[in-house]
C-alpha cells in the first residue's frame, strides 16, 4: 500500500477546477449596454447549439457576482431573452433554454444559408466564374439532390 506524498499532487491551474458553463465576455469600452452584451452572447450560444433546449442557465446572482455587475443588469438580460422566446424562467427553479420553435429555427437556417452562399460567391469570383455559370451549377446540384 502506498500513500500519495505531497510531491505527487500535481499543480492544477485554477482554470481547470472552475464551474465553467459558458463564455460570456463583458467589455466596458464597447458602447453596447452590458445587459445587451449578455443577451446577444447567450442568443448566439443557443443558436449555434452550444446551449441546448432544457439546459439550465446560470442563476442571475451567479452571473452578476462573477461578472461584477448588478443583479438588475442580469435580470434585464434574462427578461429580454425570455421576451424573445429563447429561455423560460420558473420562480425558485431558475432559467432554462426553451425548445426552439420552428420559425426561430427556420430563420436561423436561412441566416446560415446566406452566410454559406456568401462564401460560395467569394470562391466563384476567385476563379472568374460568371453568375450564369454559378446559377447553372447551383440548379444542377440543387435539382439533382432534390429529385432523388
Amino acid at each position: 500500500m502506498t500513500y500519495a506524498s505531497a510531491n505527487d499532487i500535481m499543480y492544477i491551474p485554477y482554470i481547470y477546477i472552475m464551474r465553467w458553463t459558458m463564455d460570456i465576455i463583458i467589455s466596458n469600452s464597447s458602447g453596447e449596454p452590458i445587459y445587451q452584451q449578455i443577451s446577444t452572447q447567450i442568443k448566439a450560444l443557443i443558436l449555434n447549439g452550444t446551449l441546448k433546449a432544457g439546459d439550465a442557465l446560470p442563476s442571475m446572482r451567479q452571473l452578476a457576482q462573477n461578472l461584477r455587475i448588478s443583479v438588475i443588469t442580469t435580470k434585464r438580460a434574462y427578461e429580454e431573452l425570455e421576451r424573445d422566446g429563447f429561455i423560460e424562467s420558473y420562480t425558485g427553479k431558475g432559467s432554462f433554454v426553451k425548445g426552439q420553435n420552428a420559425e426561430l429555427l427556420r430563420e436561423e437556417y436561412l441566416r446560415q444559408t446566406e452566410e454559406l452562399l456568401g462564401q460560395v460567391c467569394a470562391k466563384a469570383r476567385q476563379c472568374d466564374l460568371s453568375l450564369d455559370e454559378l446559377k447553372e451549377m447551383l440548379e444542377l446540384i440543387y435539382g439533382g439532390e432534390g429529385n432523388e
Binding site: 485554477y14 465553467w20 465576455i25 452571473l63 461578472l67
Partner: protein
C-alpha cells in the same frame, strides 16, 4: 537655493522593520510636476514619506530634496516644504487665529494675508476650536496652513481620503493653482486613484516595500490593457506576456503590460483600457498569476 531638475530624488532607500522592509526604493519627483504615490495599505508609502521628511531614519540610501541632502540641509529644505497628513496635527484647543500667530514665528516667509484668504475661500471660522471641526474642515485647515509660507514642494499623505467628491475637487483645484508656478511640485499619496488620474503627471506604485512601476502616468495607462478572454482565448495566450489573470465562471480578464503588441497579436480578443485601480489590483495579485 541651487539648481535642480528633480524636486525629490530617492536613491536605494532601505528601511527594515520587524515584518516589513522598504526595499531599495528609487524614484524621482521631477520639478514642476505632480506625482501620485500609490500602493496598498502597508505598502510603505507613509514610511517613504516620513523618510523624505527625516522623521524616520533610513538604514541605507539617500534622499535629495531640491538637490540638497535631506539630513544635512534639513533646515534649509524645510523652509520650502509643506506636508499634509491624514490627521490634523494641531491641538484640538487651538483656533485658526492661533495658528497664524504660531506660524508667523516659525516661518520667515509666513504670509498672513494669504492664510486668511484661504480661510475665507474654504469658509473656515477663525475663532472656532479645531476640536469642533468636521473632517473636511480639518483637511482644508491643514491645506490652508501648508500653502501659506511660500512652499515649493507639497507632500501629501492620504490627505484626500475620507473627503466627499465636492471637497476633493475643490482641493484638486487648489493644487492646479499651486502648480501654475513652474518651481512648484507635489508628491501625493492616495488610495483614491481617480483623483490621481485627473491631476497626476507621473505615478509611482509600490507594493510590499518594493517599487513596481514609476513613470509618466499617460505612458503607464496606455501601455496597460485588459484582455477580455473566453477560456479558449486564454489557453491560446502566451502566458509570458501577462501580468496576472482574474478568472470567473464565464470569462477571464487578463492584464498585459504591452497593450499595442497584444492588440496586434490577438486581434480577435476584446481589449479594454485599464485604469490605475485595475493596474494596482492585477499587479498586487501578480504572484498568484491566476486569481478570482
Amino acid at each position: 537655493m541651487n539648481d535642480y531638475t528633480n524636486a525629490i530624488e530617492v536613491r536605494d532607500l532601505t528601511k527594515r522593520y520587524d515584518g516589513f522592509t522598504l526595499d531599495n526604493l528609487s524614484f524621482n519627483v521631477p520639478g514642476g510636476s505632480i506625482m501620485g504615490f500609490i500602493g496598498q495599505n502597508g505598502a510603505g508609502k507613509t514610511t517613504t514619506i516620513n523618510t523624505i521628511l527625516n522623521i524616520v531614519k533610513p538604514d541605507s540610501g539617500t534622499v535629495k530634496v531640491f538637490g540638497l541632502d535631506h539630513i544635512r540641509d534639513e533646515k534649509e529644505i524645510k523652509k520650502h516644504i509643506a506636508a499634509v497628513f491624514d490627521e490634523l496635527p494641531f491641538d484640538d484647543r487651538l483656533t485658526a487665529s492661533d495658528i497664524n500667530v504660531i506660524m508667523r514665528e516659525i516661518y520667515d516667509q509666513w504670509d498672513s494675508d494669504k492664510f486668511f484668504a484661504f480661510l475665507d475661500r474654504f469658509q473656515l471660522p477663525k475663532k472656532k476650536k479645531f476640536g469642533k471641526f468636521s473632517k473636511g474642515m480639518k483637511m482644508k485647515m491643514q491645506i490652508a496652513a501648508a500653502l501659506s509660507h511660500n512652499a515649493k514642494l507639497l507632500i501629501m499623505d492620504e490627505a484626500t481620503t475620507g473627503l466627499d467628491p465636492v471637497v476633493r475637487n475643490e482641493i484638486l483645484d487648489i493644487f492646479f493653482e499651486f502648480l501654475q508656478d513652474e518651481e512648484h511640485s507635489i508628491l501625493m499619496s492616495s488610495h483614491i486613484t481617480s483623483d490621481l488620474e485627473k491631476i497626476a503627471d507621473s505615478v509611482t506604485f509600490i507594493d510590499k516595500g518594493k517599487l513596481l512601476i514609476s513613470g509618466c502616468k499617460d505612458d503607464i495607462l496606455e501601455s496597460h490593457a485588459i484582455l477580455r478572454c473566453s477560456r479558449a482565448d486564454y489557453e491560446a495566450l502566451d502566458k509570458s506576456d501577462i501580468v496576472s489573470a482574474r478568472i470567473n465562471d464565464f470569462s477571464i480578464d487578463v492584464m498585459v503590460s504591452d497593450a499595442d503588441e497584444c492588440r496586434r497579436r490577438y486581434p480577435g480578443i476584446i481589449t479594454d483600457k485599464a485604469n490605475l485601480d485595475d493596474i494596482m489590483l492585477f499587479y498586487v495579485n501578480r504572484d498568484k498569476k491566476e486569481w478570482r
